[in-house]
Structure formats: structure tokens, C-alpha cells
Symmetry: C2
Subunit: 309 residues, 2 copies
């Protein structure tokens, strides 16, 4: 095989209360990576299409490059690869770095005969995320890899998909305002009141149960985070008002997507999605910030090989 091209969806980490535990792949946004064998032993990022021009081409500073290198090691490849990265995820907070890593890992794995299964691709992708964010978490990479809504335990290196809720509609508003995951993680408290930990745990457990029950309403109403959202709210201009506007417009729940600055809201009524998105966008505008609205559903499939020859 000479080339393989793979797609990996964008994702929402945490999904509110489930910090570093829950993640959700979403439809409509994602990165595509084409990997071609080269004559050397290295990973060369040949081109990055799309994106905002800030993503480094240097292999060791690019999550696709790092993940590709790790996969090459694991499959004991005798070739290097050239990568072409097509970005289609706006701003920050939608697992953009994870999607690039996952698409690269899946493409390179396909290029060398799919020796690794999906679970085995988590560590290479997590290593890539770690190197750019400083944290070890796998909610975005496992959502992007497996699809659906996932439960992850980073310290245990474990994650699995629990499926989807067909009725769930996800509205994401991405402001033109970047938040670095490194900074988003640095503002978190070292210790939290036990009562808040119990509350977040109960809401997270409720959300997992709601996925099993295909209950969009229960899922959305449980998006209540007393720990991470309050600590990060100040990093996103106007966040409390954006969230309030989403709820006022009929969203079941809303919170920061991953480390931000994207903000997401959920509803079980497709007809409400546009109104919710516009209400959120309007508030960002009032704070002097332009934004992009994306209306999605849960991506059930996760990363997939688009072409291999």
C-alpha cells in the first residue's frame, strides 16, 4: 500500500460535568489526513490545508506528526511517511488537535496493514495530545476514534463508546477567541469540595444512564458542572451570558466545549437548534466577538479510512 487517507470527527470533551471522563464525537466537522510512504524513516508534514495558519509544520510540535511517529514505532514500520493534513474544525475547544492526531494514526495504521486495533491507537494519540497540552487525557481522542459518546479513564488508559442518542441535537458556537488547553488546565483548582465532586459524579452518571436509555432530555438536563466550568468561565468573554442565552432559547443544557473557547448547547428539538445558535452568537457579538455556529448530531462512526491504495 502506498497511501491511505482517513477522516476523524471533531469532538466535545467533558460534556459539562464529566471533566476528562466524557466525550462526544460530532457530525459535520473533522480533519482528514493523507499518509504516503516516503523513502526515509521520518514523518514529514508536507502540507496543512485549512486551519488558521498557526499549526506548526514541525513534526514534533504537530499532533498528527507525533501520533504518526508513535504508530510507526508500534507497527515497526520500515518506511517513513509524508502527511497532508486537511483541517475542518474551527477555533478551539472542539478536539481539533485530537482529530488531527486520530486521523493521522488511523491513516498510518491503514497504510501498514491495520496491525493495531482501535484501542491500541489511543496511546499514540494521547501522547500527541499530551505533548501539546501538558495534560494526559483521552476524552477527545477516544471520542474521535470510536465515535459516539465515550467514557474514559485517562489514568487507567481506558476508554469505550457507549453509543449515541438519536434525538440529541448539538449546537456549537465557536468564537474567534482562542483558549489554549494548557492555560485552561492551569486555572483548575487542585482540590475541590467533596460535595461538588459528588454532584458532578451524579450528573455524569446520569448522563451515562441517559445514553443507555436514549433519553436526550435527561442527558441535557444533567449538563451541570460545579467544578470546571466556574473555574474556566472567565477565559471566554461573555460565557455566562452566552450560556444563559442558550438556556433561555430552549436548550436543555449548555457548557464549555472541552477546554473552550467553543460553547455547546443541546436540545432534543431540531427546530430549536438555529434559534439557540443565533441567541448564543448574538451574545458573543455583544461582547465584540464574531463566532461560527455549527449544528451537529452525535457522530456514531468515529474515525474512518476514506481511501487506501
Amino acid at each position: 500500500m502506498k497511501m491511505a487517507k482517513a477522516f476523524a470527527p471533531a469532538s466535545i470533551g467533558n460534556i459539562g460535568p464529566g471533566f476528562d471522563v466524557l466525550g462526544m464525537a460530532i457530525t459535520g466537522l473533522g480533519d482528514t489526513v493523507t499518509a504516503e510512504k516516503n523513502r526515509g524513516r521520518d514523518v514529514v508534514i508536507r502540507e496543512i490545508k485549512g486551519g488558521d495558519g498557526t499549526i506548526p509544520l514541525e513534526t514534533d510540535r504537530n499532533t498528527a506528526g507525533i501520533a504518526a511517529k508513535e504508530v510507526l514505532k508500534l507497527v515497526k514500520a520500515k518506511h517513513g511517511v509524508d502527511l497532508i493534513i486537511q483541517k475542518n474544525i474551527p477555533g478551539t475547544g472542539l478536539g481539533s488537535s485530537a482529530a488531527s492526531a486520530v486521523a493521522a494514526a488511523v491513516a498510518v495504521n491503514a497504510l501498514f496493514g491495520n496491525k493495531l486495533d482501535r484501542e491500541e491507537l489511543i496511546p499514540p494519540c494521547a501522547a500527541a495530545e499530551h505533548s501539546v497540552s501538558g495534560g494526559y487525557f483521552i476524552d477527545n481522542v477516544s471520542a474521535s476514534l470510536f465515535g459516539g459518546i465515550i467514557v474514559s479513564h485517562a489514568a487507567q488508559r481506558q476508554a469505550f463508546s457507549i453509543g449515541t442518542i438519536p434525538d440529541l441535537v448539538v449546537v456549537v458556537v465557536t468564537p474567534y477567541h482562542s483558549v489554549l488547553t494548557k492555560i485552561s488546565r492551569a486555572v483548575l483548582p487542585d482540590k475541590v469540595p467533596l460535595s461538588l465532586a459528588v454532584s458532578n459524579m451524579a450528573f455524569t452518571a446520569t448522563m451515562v444512564a441517559a445514553v443507555a436509555q436514549k433519553n436526550a432530555r435527561r442527558f441535557g438536563l444533567a449538563i451541570q458542572d460545579g467544578i470546571v466550568e466556574p473555574a474556566r468561565a472567565h477565559l471566554i468573554p461573555g460565557f455566562p451570558d452566552v450560556k444563559a442565552a442558550a438556556l433561555k432559547a430552549g436548550a436543555l443544557g449548555a457548557s464549555i466545549s472541552g477546554a473552550g473557547a467553543s460553547v455547546f448547547a443541546v436540545t432534543d428539538r431540531k427546530s430549536h437548534a438555529k434559534k439557540i445558535g443565533l441567541a448564543m452568537q448574538k451574545v458573543f457579538q455583544q461582547h465584540g466577538i464574531s463566532s461560527v455556529i455549527t449544528v451537529s448530531r452525535v457522530d456514531k462512526h468515529g474515525a474512518r479510512v476514506l481511501r487506501a491504495r
Copy 2:
């Protein structure tokens, strides 16, 4: 109607990492309460059968009495009731006070025409638990009421059953050593490291997913609590050794049942249950404490009216 008799199963609160969130009704143990209308307006506890003789007959200090009083208020009863309580739950840590409250609430509700649905019986039972323990939690009462494995959010006054895992076998070893819930709650830290909160949240989410997947193995392996178990271990003589013995004998996971002193272990192999129980009992014996072994499964049905006329 003149009398109603109801049964409520014993339960395991927390189930390891899910402090105040997860609960499980178990088969084979439980309390029965008979309620009869009397000529006054009060709740009179006529008799307590079984038990260790320490449970107060005084209505306001007895969880069955308190729950019965609360239900009488809610149904606007024009009669009082006499209660006969039959205890069949050994020691502490198996939701004994909750089962008495639940059985009383269900019996009294039946006696007055089942005006309240199951969800509406949570507050009366929670009030009873609160008055004897000082904490407001509903994991035991909702497990005993609804049956199955439950997810609860005490501060939100919400709980629901997520069903059962048919393969799950639960071994409980109850030492002759009481631990008061009040004391068990007092030893908990006010604040916990965020990393531990995330870990407990991930294990709890995994357990909920495992119930949906009917995966006893995943459920059992996720019974890992880095917050509450370490804080309470010293209240149960020999606990670390009892737990280690359970795991060595083949249990998938083990922890303190509720506030203790009972210790539970789970397995997906019925044939291992006796061995696991005996191994745990032996360690308690080495610490000079006699104990009772109960081999159970998840009680799917929850509290039920046995007779009403």
C-alpha cells in the same frame, strides 16, 4: 383498608466509587413492616421483631416511624397507624435503616390507597435517613424502593433505577462490629484532590455503562474508590486485609458497603461466591471478629406490598 404489609430489600450504598450516587438492592435480606390503622392520629411502633435490640421504639427516633409520619402527612391521612417491624438485615452497612423506612412508607402508602408514586416516597424516606444519620443522601432508600442498581443525586432529590446485571453475584460479609453512619460521614475529607474526583467519576461512569451493557466483569473491575474507602478503612478492623482476601479469592472488586462495617465483593461466577465469602470471613476472624456471610444477587423488584386488606 385496615392493614398493609410491605417488604423492602437491603441495599449496598456507594458500591465503591459512587459515594452518595450509586446504590444496589440485594436479594435475600430485607425488612418487613406491617401497618394497621389505629384510632388516633399518631404513629405507634408496636413491636420490633428481629434486629439486635438497639433500635428505638420511639417513633421520632425510628426510621420506619419517621417515614410513616411523613407519608401520613403527604396523603393527608385522618388516621394514625400502628407499625410492626420485622428486621432481617444483619449489622450495619446494608441499608437497614433505609429498608425499614421504605417498607413503612410503602405499607402506609398502600394502606391509604397508594396515593403517592414511588418517586414521591423518596422524600419521606430520605427525611428518616437524615434524622438518624445527619446526612442527606438517597442511595440506599432509592435502591430499596426501586430495586436494581440506582443512580441518585441527593441535592437534586432525584434517583432512578438503571436495571440489573443478571450475572452479577454479590458477596457481603457483615462483621459483628457496628459503624454509625454519622461517624462514617464525619471522617470524610471536606476537600478532595481533583485528580481523585476525576478518577472516582470515571469509575462510577464505567459502572453505570456496565449495567447498561450487562457486563458484570467491567462493573466489578471498576469498583475502585480513591476517596471514601481510604478515609473510612480504619473504622473496620482488618478492612484492607478483608478486601485483599476477597480479590485474592477471585472477586472482581470489593469495597465497604455503604457506611460500613459490612464489606462486599462481586464476582460473575456463582461458584466462586462461597470461597470469596469464607476468605473474607477468615480474615475478620483473624482480627477477632465474627461475621455473617450473605450471597446475593441484585434485587430487581425493590419494595413490594406483600398483603393488604
